[in-house]
């Protein structure tokens, strides 16, 4: 049964939700950056309806840094300590359809054998409320990857109109949480959000990137794409920074490093980027010597290698974050469009 509350009562609902489990939701930032970021809810905080948070929701399951194991070293002896405490349930509110799909992309990496128990524990404890995208942005292209922002998945999917917020439990976990809200939510017909769904669908169709196609890509396109001469011009002005990788909800490469605290060693993992020259560097050599090769690796991985291993699923969800934040405005859309063009208008190189 679909449930609803007036927009004016959203804060009461959020407060109640935060009583069920710690609640994280997009809130506009303070200081020089007022864009939305996921913040732990405290009474009085305003949910930001901004389309996308600056950083993606992957942070909750795959944080930028995470302690894996601690060591105490004493002479020739070493003690190995598992530093983890049991995770508690938490609620993630306002996740967009694209970010929710990114969890599926990450799951196939982290939950495949051998399971990454750090990630698995967070996933098991996360309760996700998604939010349909009433106002998709010009940078959105999730539909290219088969994602429907009018039908976001999750434990509970939500819709927001000018007057009401609708809650649709999709899983048992979601139903249990909604039940705890009691009469803060009123029952309503599922059809009440139909108009909203149609509006979203028609808006998606009108977006500038709606015709972006994945036809030229997929697990079987290695030979055709790898030696394409246009990688050179596409990567020409790449700064080799890690912005695209770090804002990306599906990028999952990481590094493992030791940090000597002075009274023990913490072995932590942190996000890493295939765009960095040091990423594949070994004592014995470096398989990817140029920025073109590293740039190519990132996009080949998303558009060819990942789908080859995952039943054709692409490792991009069309959230548009890299479009908004790349310092040189080079991004997966430009790569896809360029490489989809017939080879004869190859540019000059």
């Amino acid at each position: 049964m679909m449930k609803k509350c007036p927009v004016s009562a959203l804060n009461t609902v959020l407060t109640a939700l935060s009583g069920v489990a710690p609640l994280y939701l997009p809130v506009n930032g303070k200081g020089k950056d007022t864009r939305a970021k996921y913040t732990k809810y405290e009474d009085g905080m305003i949910y930001s309806t901004a389309l996308n948070t600056v950083r993606s929701a992957k942070d909750f399951f795959f944080p930028q840094t995470e302690n894996l194991v601690n060591f105490k070293v004493d002479g020739k002896n070493i003690e190995i300590i598992d530093p983890r405490e049991e995770h508690e349930d938490f609620i993630l509110f306002g996740v967009r359809a694209c970010d929710y799909k990114s969890f599926d992309v990450l799951d196939r990496v982290f939950l495949s054998e051998p399971v990454d128990s750090y990630y698995a524990s967070r996933r098991a404890h996360g309760i996700v409320f998604t939010m349909a995208c009433t106002r998709p942005a010009e940078t959105c292209f999730c539909t290219t990857f088969g994602i429907d922002p009018s039908e976001p998945q999750g434990d509970v999917s939500c819709y927001m109109t000018e007057t009401d917020v609708y809650f649709d439990a999709k899983t048992e976990k979601g139903e249990v949480v909604l039940a705890k809200l009691g009469d803060l939510l009123a029952d309503c017909e599922e059809s009440t959000v139909n108009e909203q769904k149609e509006l979203i669908s028609s808006r998606m169709k009108a977006l500038p990137l709606s015709s972006l196609s994945t036809e030229a890509f997929g697990g079987d396109k290695l030979d055709k794409l790898f030696d394409d001469p246009r990688w050179e011009s596409l990567s020409e002005s790449c700064l080799a920074c890690g912005t695209c990788t770090y804002v990306c909800p599906t990028c999952q490469c990481y590094d493992i490093k030791d940090f000597d605290t002075g009274h023990g060693v913490c072995r932590f993992r942190c996000w890493d980027s295939c765009m960095y020259s040091e990423f594949t560097k070994m004592s014995a050599g470096q398989p990817r010597l140029t920025q073109m090769q590293r740039f190519r690796q990132r996009f080949m991985h998303k558009l060819v290698y990942y789908p080859a291993n995952n039943d054709g699923l692409f490792s991009c969800v069309g959230c548009g974050r890299c479009l908004a934040s790349c310092p040189i405005s080079m991004n997966i859309v430009k790569v896809m469009k360029t490489l989809s063009e017939e080879a004869e208008d190859n540019g000059s190189k």
């Binding site: 930028q64 920074c241 912005t243």
Partner: protein
């Protein structure tokens, strides 16, 4: 007002390419939207006709790309806005590229927009934006058009422009401007006037957003080390991510020290930061201090000038004097 348009630049570049004077052009390439302009290398007039763009989003500073471009055969044409020309000079002072392999065209600048600035003005569904006289016109998907005063809505680096004078060029298109009184240190002074705790809280809030993507360093025309200390696993500070809350402060403060006296205040660091951290304020603090302690000095204003920090003079203030001034 000078009218240097896309066509002016296109004609000039095409002529230089046709005559063989240059073999490549560093220029801005149009994107999917109005604001996502990419630095690119053009090799023919046809390529430029197709994709070259020059408008309010042509803000990227090409000077650092010259290091890579001049290592190739032939001469490269570069367009230098006033800011870019300071970086150009500074790189020449540091012998980072071969001047003979560059044909520099100076172009006047009236302030450039950037993606994050217009997106802040129209966060939901930005279709396009352009300049119409003194106004910035933003077309949106859901909220119609927004018309705002152009100058007032520029990013900080341009709102507090230090100079409209192109200080290095082979040829100037349009009319060159002058060094301007920019009030660019006003915000630094405000920060200095804060209590230590308030200032710490300000930077804590800003720097805690850092994701260590290194974009600020990678775009910075003063950051041209072959191997950055932060990429060296043996430096002990190589970590790509924060391992404690102090880490990101250390990264930015060390970087600011490394570019002190060499930073030309082009503001690219703040433009590219995906987290909108006002990084240029750290550099301006150094410039402000250098000016106050050693007399006004602008890195890149003159090619070959010696920066006060590497140029001992008997009249330089003693360390104790500097410390005392710092206490105030």
């Amino acid at each position: 007002m000078q009218t240097v348009t896309r066509e002016t630049l296109l004609d000039k570049a095409s002529a230089l390419l046709a005559s063989g004077e240059v073999s490549r052009v560093l220029g801005w390439k149009k994107g999917e939207f109005a604001y996502d302009v990419t630095p690119a290398v053009f090799e023919s007039a046809e390529e430029m006709e197709k994709d070259f763009v020059y408008d309010i989003f042509s803000g990227a500073n090409f000077s650092k790309y010259l290091i890579k471009e001049t290592a190739k055969e032939g001469k490269v044409l570069v367009f230098l806005k006033p800011c870019d020309s300071y970086s150009f000079n500074q790189l020449l002072t540091e012998h980072r590229f071969d001047r003979e392999k560059v044909y520099a065209i100076g172009i006047p600048c009236d302030g450039m927009m950037d993606a994050s600035t217009v997106k802040a003005l129209a966060p939901e569904g930005l279709v396009s934006a352009e300049r119409d006289g003194d106004n910035l016109v933003i077309h949106t998907l859901y909220d119609g058009d927004k018309i705002l005063p152009y100058a007032d809505n520029l990013p900080d680096r341009c709102r507090h422009c230090k100079s409209k004078k192109v200080v290095a060029y082979d040829e100037m298109l349009g009319e060159n401007g002058d060094v301007v009184d920019s009030h660019r240190f006003d915000e630094v002074a405000e920060l200095e006037a804060m209590s230590e705790d308030a200032r710490f809280a300000f930077w804590q809030n800003e720097l805690s957003r850092c994701i260590r993507c290194n974009a600020c360093r990678d775009v910075c025309p003063a950051c041209t080390c072959e191997k950055c200390v932060f990429d060296n696993p043996k430096s002990g500070v190589e970590n790509k991510a924060i391992s404690d809350s102090y880490e990101e402060k250390m990264f930015h403060i060390i970087r600011a020290f490394h570019v002190a006296g060499r930073c030309t205040d082009c503001g690219e660091c703040s433009r590219v930061c995906p987290q909108n951290i006002p990084l240029h304020l750290l550099n301006r603090k150094f410039i402000y201090d250098i000016d106050r302690n050693y007399g006004d000095y602008m890195a890149g204003a003159e090619e070959g000038s010696r920066a006060p920090l590497v140029n001992y003079k008997t009249e330089d203030p003693e360390a104790a004097d500097v410390l005392e001034r710092g206490d105030k």
